[in-house]
Amino acid sequence: MSAPSRVWDTLQSNRAGRLARARSVLGAALDGKAVPGARIKDLLHNVLECGDRVCLEGNNQKQADFLGKALAGLDPDRINNLHMLQSVLALPEHLDVFERGIASKLDFSFSGPQAARVAKLVASGQLNIGAIHTYLELFSRYFIDLPPRVCLVAAEAADRHGNLYTGPNTEDTPPIVEATAFKNGIVIVQVNRIMDVLPRVDIPGDWVDFVVCSPEPYYIEPLFTRDPALISEIQVLMAMMAIKGIYAEYGVERLNHGIGFDTAAIELLLPTYAESLGLRGKIARHWALNPHPALIPAIEAGFVESVHSFGSELGMEDYIRARPDVFAVGPDGSMRSNRAMCQAAGHYACDMFIGSTLQIDLQGNSSTATLGRIAGFGGAPNMGADARGRRHASPAWLKAGRQAREGRNTIPRGQKLVVQIVETFREHMQPAFVDRLDAWELAEQAGFEIPPVMIYGDDVTHILTEEGIANLLLCRSDEEREQAIRGVAGYTPVGMARDKRMVENLRDRGIIVRAEDLGVDKRLATRDLLAARNMKDLVRASGGLYSPPRRFRNW
């Protein structure tokens, strides 16, 4: 008796079948790999199958918008129940596919602009979330249990062989295409133009099946531009405390900044305040960071030696080209970003993450979850977490590790600095410090197994508010930790409920540090301290090379 022999090349046969269908339907319209834009729906109807895992570029910034619109316009009787894999849900059509019944399941990382609509579709049962991930986590699963069957990506240009130039906005494309191509999936790309010779090859044509020249260039969102005119005096004060109390204190040379006005203030204080403290060459030398325009003065002043980026930023292209010593510029003269590698760099090769948040609880758990919105995390959890797999030492890492383990009977190890910087009250007098995160309620509402937390309390090393810095590394009990948090929570209900005697004791021990203790003169905390106070200042600092997008200009 012989067992039925297993077939081992089902994916290859299936792929061949899809390609054959596509070729048959497109006929002479298919020129090598090039598909005319007008036939995109025919391609998709024939290359997709119901229930497919489809990865659509929905990056944080770059959007394969032509393909995304086409997908949302397919016939749900022919193509339905797709399982979408997507870094970011940014555009309306990213939700239209669910509303129209073309897709039913989703694994993703971030949905900022569409968060409210995601929540509604989940509540109505039209959208079934597999899980919310960090970017790196999602890319990782593409190689294990969530390989895309079809991916829809965006690139600057293709040549006739299907080689792709993804340029400064390479972002998520490499792992998406690799994971798809090496599981016999179908790779479809929209490009801004077809060229005879590419500036450089970012993705080999062997991995690419179909190329469509889109009528408009793919959409990019300028997410990382912050107008210095909107930075407040309180943010300047907090930035001064961050620089003196943490960057200088630990000697932070390698770091990542979460995006926000609080960190933009720090970037703009490097050439002024940090310079006055003699810190150039000692802090903020190597960055995992998008090309923030707010970083221009610090680059020009000689603080910043290198920047590796997750994506690019609109308007910074010429400045980046003119600073190849600093940015990840290739042999062709243009930058290449790489979200996956930069996330890994932020996790393992940086000694500090600092970013803002919406809510912090009494254990230091930090969350941006709010009711009625399912927003996800993006990359923050990878940056804002101790890298327990790390083995190489640096002074900052060792110092943090020592502070955490002093007096305890454990083997010595280092620790990454994870700093949450936040004003005690947000807009409309909403306290940032709470007894119970909204994340709990959101989890119940949306049916998550656990509350969505961006940064866990046991990874947070410092909390910085306008009231000072709480050093959680030095706390030796849950109670100390709680009072340390209350001690910088100001006049919020959490702050008002502090044990005054204990907080005084924590201050004596240096666990809570106020501006005065740091020698930070509050009277200097004015906008005059910013190296650039508006967009024009940034343009001038760049020698005219930075060209802000229209919405940021008044010229």
Binding site: T272, Y273, D528, L529, R553, N554
Partner: protein
């Protein structure tokens, strides 16, 4: 440590007064402690300011006695209510009585404070009359316009009634606000959300080229001070028929030459500016070098 010159734009009205005039020389009339506040805002359950949004008083400017007023753009956009307007009128009348050489108006205002309805309208028209009376009595009245809210509405008219206007490129000067124009005439006529267009049309550089302002400086209190000193010392122009005829002729010339054009860039090209698109990024000194030989106005 910080080499940056104090920004006029970012300073409050009080800071502008403190930083622009001779150090420590300013004496305030009707200071906040007098609590001469709006009689109307309380009835609307709206917040008041102790000085009703304008600081007035006497100071030295390079040793000369002058009167000064500074509107606080942060309070209700600098809009003029009954008390605010009365303080300006009182200042101008007192300048005549005391034979002061010059009154400096640091303006930043959306115009009439609509909350105060007729009282606000009357206040602004009384300010116009007071400016003209002061000029007729030989008091130079000089406007400085460099605040983020611009100088609009009735205060725009007041500014153009003064002897001279000093602007920064960040400053704006007009009558109708951008949103008003768009509402009245449609977005194709004027897209108020196109900030570049708004500044091209109402900003200091365009005003300088068109002859509506007489000096343009960087966003620097020190430069405003220098320009103010020069403007006060220029021969005060009595408002006579000859000057009115000259102004009328200039306005007629503008309509004739530029009336059919739809963007200031075209006007600048017609004035002989070689690279109109480059104008916005020039610093004040570079801009003046290009603009002075080509601008209208000439006074």
């Amino acid at each position: 440590m910080n080499n940056y010159v104090n920004s006029y734009l970012e300073s409050t009205a009080r800071e502008r007064i403190e930083r622009l005039f001779d150090p420590g020389s300013f004496v305030e009339f009707l200071p906040p402690a007098s609590r001469v506040i709006s009689p109307h805002l309380g009835q609307l359950d709206a917040a008041v300011a102790f000085d009703d949004g304008v600081v007035v008083g006497r100071a030295f400017l390079d040793g000369e006695t002058v009167f000064a007023a500074a509107q606080e753009g942060g309070f209700m956009g600098g809009a003029v209510g009954e008390v605010h307007g009365a303080k300006l009128v009182g200042l101008l009348r007192r300048a005549v009585t005391e034979k002061i050489g010059a009154v400096l108006l640091l303006l930043e205002s959306g115009g009439v404070r609509l909350h105060e309805a007729n009282a606000g309208l009357i206040a602004v028209s009384e300010v116009m009359r007071a400016v003209l009376d002061a000029r007729a009595a030989g008091v130079a009245v000089v406007t400085l316009a460099g605040g983020s809210n611009g100088v609009f509405g009735g205060m725009g008219i007041v500014a153009r009634c003064t002897n001279a206007i000093v602007m920064s490129e960040e400053g704006r000067l007009a009558m109708s606000g951008p949103e008003v124009i768009e509402t009245a005439s449609g977005v194709e006529e004027f897209d108020s959300r196109d900030r570049a267009l708004v500044w091209r049309t109402t900003g200091g550089k365009h005003r300088y080229l068109l002859g509506d302002c007489q000096a343009i400086v960087s966003d620097s209190v020190a430069e405003f001070r220098q320009a103010a000193i020069a403007a006060c010392r220029a021969q005060p122009t009595f408002l006579c028929l000859a000057e009115l005829d000259q102004e009328q002729a200039m306005l007629g010339e503008r309509i004739e030459r530029f009336g059919a054009m739809s963007d200031p860039l075209e006007i600048w090209a017609a004035l002989g500016v070689e690279q109109p698109a480059a104008i916005p990024m020039l610093d004040a000194a570079q801009f003046v070098a290009v603009a002075r030989p080509r601008r209208l106005g000439g006074r």
